[in-house]
Assembly symmetry: C2
Homo-oligomer: 351 residues x 2
DNA sequence: CTGAAAGCGCTAACAC
DNA sequence: GTGTTAGCGCTTTCAG
């Protein structure tokens, strides 16, 4: 265990008050920027604060304020995909940005194995944070139930599949218009005169994958199952799915891929087989991750979604509750408005 | 701002005590597993805890314990390299593992822009954490001074360049035997009969880069500057450096690359120029990141370092101080023993 | 405008 | 063994 007083004995409000010749309350007011304090004692106080290097004890402050100014971001990633997929990076960037502007800290909790759940549940229930942000939950993820039990405000990143472990309503999420984006992509392919449009989906136990597939089907009402291959949102998965598709339907002339990373894998296979993009096969991705889309050959035409903006939005939503006092007969988790952010096609070279 | 009581009014020790018909102390003892409590009241207490769904208030506990059971991991990454370089992923994995076994939480703070420093400094000084773990600091990074000022125990990942902003001693770090590993790699190349051994270094304002270059020089006392190219630890940087090297010295027959990621970039250039590896040019990397080293063509011979283990070690070091009471006349930051972990060469196909 | 005083919920002596 | 008590450092009425 760490020492009890790692910081030595730091100065307290009391110390500052004594040195400045004022009361604790006055120091508190000055420190917190509460208006009614005369300039003269305020100045003396500030001086004392500086001289002593006083920093308020957060534990004490939290105890009385009942606020933590911290929110947890929980990511469930069986693999270590978290740290290789730029998607999360963008999300976190937006979240962090907005959190900072609210004066709150970001606590990143990540779940690697089933054993981690109790620990995380404990932490979330321990009153360390004012809310939780959660991502890419699987259908049977226990997290929603945990935060509900803890009565912790939460916002989800990405729509959840209905019929899953948690209520369809009552939980707010932020998601991109996956279906609309997919529709626009496929419509573009069709407008290009493509007749055999295939698709590579994400894992179909995730809502985003299903929604994008639905968008594809909205346009291609007559698409056959042989034109659909399931990927896993990885580069390799995209490549594998492309191979499958090519073997099944050598005459396909376009493919809508549900993520840029998978699209990069697909492009690789296409090139290996010496199939020209976009001449022989047009390719459209999803995400518009510039680091990928702009560096493929040819550059990737893809559906743009504002990932960073979605992150910011999640935080804003979390903080938008004006009152935590549960309504009578209410558990405190009011259904919040979920938000669907727009997407749009960015045409580059691949379609 | 979030509501003051996001969790509703949760039950307190007092509530549990009343319900179980015991005193607060008894409840506290039971909850904290302190021995001397008779089984009967203990059982009643546990029952009450369960019924009320009591969870101890961490703020209150911290206030009296002066312990947070949380440590901050601060990463300074100008680019978003944090989330693409598997290196950090491994480090974090080890850290998290060890932290969990100490019952402590990991708070990830990341610094993106200079403006973030004050915020982080404030957080570190706010008494939220019991210690800090820091990585890949640049020569002029203000972080060491900040944690010193805050009197916060800290362990650094990677040796710092001496002559930098912080004391050469007084700060403990964990690092791999970069120099020794580099020596072993170059020695291997020489033993293979290679006569013109080049090297691609990391950014030379980082200790690891310098150390690896020094190891290279230890063996190749007569190496010329034209055989040395500086990279930046990225795939592209490695590729660029390889091109430079090849243009300068078309007759080189081996290259020691200071990271696997850069080595992958170098391999790509070599292949584009139709130079055979290892026949024409032998390549050795550094890190032994399996996801890279095992998937290149040919598989990469590289210097192994136990990154995850280093992460665990950092935590153990942080927790190993037996007392935080500064010795008289001491700031509280005792010099701690730094640790250099061993490295060894893993021979695969590229050399 | 400022100080005194009452807690926030918990732990840890110290009595009983 | 168990209860009583005194704070931990801070905010916040409430007097003055």
């Amino acid at each position: 265990m760490l020492a009890k007083q790692p910081q030595g004995s730091r100065p307290t409000l009391e110390d500052v008050a004594r040195r400045a010749g004022v009361s604790r309350s006055t120091v508190s007011r000055v420190v917190n920027g509460v208006p009614g304090v005369r300039t003269e004692p305020a100045a003396r106080t500030r001086k004392a604060v500086a001289e002593l290097g006083y920093v308020p004890n957060q534990a004490a402050r939290r105890l009385v304020n009942r606020r933590n100014d911290a929110v947890a971001v929980v990511v469930t990633e069986p693999q270590n995909r978290l740290f290789v997929d730029p998607f999360f990076d963008h999300h976190l960037r937006g979240i962090r940005q907005e959190l900072v502007s609210h004066g709150a800290q970001l606590l990143l909790l990540y779940i690697e194995e089933p054993d981690d759940y109790p620990l995380v549940a404990n932490f979330l229930g321990g009153g360390h944070v004012d809310g939780a942000l959660m991502f890419s939950l699987r259908t049977d993820d226990p997290l929603p139930e945990i935060v509900e039990r803890m009565g912790l405000p939460a916002i989800y990143g990405g729509r959840h599949l209905s019929g899953s472990g948690y209520h369809d309503h009552g939980y707010a999420y932020v998601d991109a218009d996956n279906r609309g984006g997919a529709r626009e992509a496929v419509r573009h392919l069709v407008s290009l005169g493509r007749k055999r449009v295939a698709t590579i989906t994400g894992p179909l136990d995730q809502a985003a994958s299903v929604d994008r597939l639905d968008g594809y089907r909205d346009i291609l009402l007559d698409s056959t199952p042989s034109l659909i291959a399931e990927g896993d949102f990885t580069l390799h998965g995209g490549a594998a799915a492309m191979s499958v598709l090519l073997n099944r339907c050598p005459d396909l002339d376009a493919v809508f891929v549900a993520s840029d990373l998978m699209a990069a894998g697909a492009l690789r296979v296409l090139r290996d087989r010496e199939i020209k993009v976009p001449e022989d096969v047009a390719v459209i991705g999803f995400d518009d991750l510039r680091s990928i889309a702009e560096t493929t050959d040819p550059p990737l035409t893809t559906v743009h979604q504002d990932i960073e903006g979605m992150g910011r939005l999640m935080v804003r939503l979390l903080f938008s509750r004006d009152s935590g006092q549960p309504l009578p007969g209410d558990s405190g988790n009011h259904p919040l408005t979920s938000v669907i952010t727009p997407t749009h096609l960015v045409v580059r070279g691949s379609a």
